[in-house]
């Protein structure tokens, strides 16, 4: 036990004290933020080219009044079309937009003509369409003598509020579903990345010990199983440390960036959501309040410990397998491909099931995948926010823990043979045989 502790300490400290670890741990949140801001900036990039467009409104539907849209400036010159075309050709204006009269006040489609030598960009085109469209709508409302308020009231925004059948059950809002899905997806991704990043880290480290030939010195002092477990636990602690730092750093950095640059990353992240921008500010406020309320109403005290349990289970399960594979291969990283593939496949399948499960958390696929131990560490966390029945959680956990014990034992059997085996190309079949070797 004392020796195991020494090994854990070394595995942990030798990684945490590395400059590269400190740098990645501190810089990753920053890199993420820079990435999001950058992507947001690119996605939100609007044409910065000023466009001067002359409008020839043949039926005077716009009444010579239109709002300039961003960099597009509209004018209503009283000049004949030909001289305007000539101006456009000389480059004094960018183009001439001709609005013919409506053939019929109830026309559902209307064609405008745009004269220009320049290509009309998508951005500008959609901007013109929506501005002119709004103005024509207003024109029609006026022409038909309709009350704008009445017309506005024709639009109904639909929202579904799920209600439980039993009266005493907790009432949840639709927001809950979205938040649950987001949370589930986040947890699923963390599991997936954790398994791969730290599993690979363990595999590489086992290979290193083997090619370094330190391993024989080590196991003349400690048991191979102790060495393997020490490594798995030590690296696991490294992962936990990293997550903890990120959990603290990411909100901190985003607040800081907000203060310094004065923009809201939330909006930068979703520039495509024009609807949100057009939403009534009061309504927006309400939505945010509701989201906060929903976040508060989630059973964090249930979800977080369960997530940790599944994380630990999944981590031990897969990292022990990675350790076994690492012990079987020497310094040839290419050789590892064929052996890591059987481990990667269930992880990948689980990842895709997880993506489906956040949308349909109670489908047969989601339920059984979240109970099957090779998938459950990734799929179950994705469902946790959706009131999973306790029998499913319990069954899943019990199966997972039993599988963890079995796989760790199995990996230990392979590991103890593998680390002393040199110069032999190892196949999966060979690994199977090693399990049954005597000590």
């Amino acid at each position: 036990m004392n020796k195991l502790w020494l090994i854990i300490q070394r595995e942990y400290l030798s990684r945490v004290q590395k400059k590269s670890f400190i740098l990645t741990t501190l810089l990753t949140p920053l890199a993420f933020l820079v990435f999001f801001v950058f992507v947001g900036f690119i996605m939100g990039y609007e044409s910065d080219e000023a466009k001067k467009i002359a409008i020839v409104d043949e039926a005077n539907m716009l009444r010579k009044a239109i709002k300039d849209d961003g960099n597009i400036f509209f004018t209503f010159p009283d000049k004949p079309l030909d001289s305007l075309k000539a101006e456009a050709a000389r480059g004094e204006i960018n183009g001439v937009l001709v609005i013919p009269p409506l053939s019929d006040i109830q026309a559902k489609e209307h064609k405008l003509f745009y004269y220009s030598d320049e290509q009309l960009s998508l951005d500008v085109e959609s901007a013109i369409e929506s501005t002119i469209g709004t103005r024509i709508r207003e024109y029609k409302i006026a022409e038909m003598n309709l009350d704008p308020k009445v017309v506005e009231s024709l639009r109904t925004s639909i929202e579904i509020d799920p209600e439980p059948i039993a009266d005493d059950a907790e009432d949840i809002s639709s927001m809950r579903t979205a938040i649950g899905a987001g949370l589930g997806f986040l947890m699923g991704i963390i599991m997936y990345m954790g398994v791969f990043i730290y599993g690979m880290m363990i595999m590489r480290s086992v290979m290193e010990e083997k090619t370094n030939r330190i391993v024989e010195v080590m196991i003349s002092s400690v048991k191979p199983f102790q060495l393997m477990m020490g490594k798995i636990i030590g690296v696991g602690a490294v992962g936990m440390t990293q997550f903890l730092v990120w959990i603290i750093l990411i909100p901190l950095v985003s607040i800081l960036v907000n203060l310094v640059f004065g923009f809201d990353p939330q909006q930068m992240q979703s520039p495509g959501m024009g609807a949100a921008a057009q939403m009534d500010p009061d309504d927006m406020q309400g939505k945010i309040m509701m989201a906060m309320q929903e976040l508060g109403s989630i059973d964090w005290w249930v979800i977080v410990p369960l997530f940790l349990l599944f994380f630990i289970g999944g981590y031990f399960l897969y990292s022990s397998l990675f350790a076994a594979v690492g012990s079987a291969i020497g310094d040839d990283i290419g050789e590892s491909q064929s052996l890591t593939l059987p481990i990667s496949i269930p992880v990948l399948i689980a990842f895709y099931i997880m993506m489906v499960s956040v949308r349909t958390p109670h489908s047969t696929l989601a339920v059984w995948a979240s109970i099957f131990p090779l998938f459950s560490p990734i799929v179950m966390p994705a469902r946790l926010a959706f009131d999973v029945p306790w029998w499913q959680i319990t069954l899943s956990l019990v199966l997972l823990m039993a599988t963890v014990v079995f796989f760790v034992w199995l990996s230990g059997r392979i590991y103890r043979v593998g680390i002393l085996m040199y110069g032999k190309k190892v196949t999966l079949k060979e690994l199977g045989k090693w399990m049954f070797y005597k000590n």
Binding site: K3, L6, I7, R10, S14, K18, E209, N212, R213, I214, V215, E216, V217, M218, I219, S220, S221, V222, L420, Y422, K433, Y437, K438, N439
Partner: protein
Amino acid sequence: MENILELTDVVKNYQTTKAVDHVSFSMPKGSIFGMLGPNGAGKTSLIRIITRITRADSGRILINGIPLNDDHPEEIGYMPEERGLYKKMKVGDHLIYLARLKGLSEKAAKDAIHQWMDKFEISDWWNKKVEELSKGMQQKVQFIATVVHRPNLIILDEPFSGLDPINANLIKDEIDHLRQQGTSIIFSTHRMEQVEEICERIVLINRGQNVLEGNVREIKQAQKQNLFRYNLAGEVPAGVLEGKEVIDHTPGSLTLRFTEERDSNIFLKTLVDAGAYVQGFEEILPSLNEIFIRTVQSQGMTIDQPINAPS
């Protein structure tokens, strides 16, 4: 004399090969013991059993009269043939780590390591990373790691392979000191000539079997062929070689085999009386290498690999 190590009928089979085939031998406390045999004879398998890296299929192993158990690795210092260290660790931290895994407290480890590093005049390496050291420097560190916890039994597998002559001598000297303090040492090697002068007792292993065991001097005496070499200045007087078994005759040197040991002196007198000037006279004892080949052949066995094949 009490035995530090006693093996009785130890067997270890791998999937297709018999690595250790009913080996028995014993090793007196405080001796330097040679475990000799060609590559692949089963020496490393035996060592791995003694160091508890693997288990024997059957047989009994006693250390100081106590059956081998999980506490014994702390009493053993093992330097494997394939040696390595964690490249990124600092020398001091690395040695402390290995010493603590052998059961030393942090303070005891530190003190002992400082002593050894002072002795080897490498104290200023404490904060250097292992990867910054040269091969020869790493060998010193490795040797310290093997002996730092004051083991009762030190096992050195091919200790001189890859060792430069300076370090080899250094280790030979230190081994001698340790033996004087009562430590028992096993040398395992296929380079028999390297340990001939160091070892008091040997066991010869071939194909997993113990082919010969005993005191080096006694074995040599028992196996000697009454070969004698005479170093002469000038020609061999005519007629003296009649009826003699000449093994080798080069200018200035003459080697003969006698049926009786004492005949060598009679021939010496004959030479002198015939007017030859004898500058030197010595008995030629067989080398361990020769003894090994002869023993193996006399037992009708074959040797898997040439004995002096570089490893």
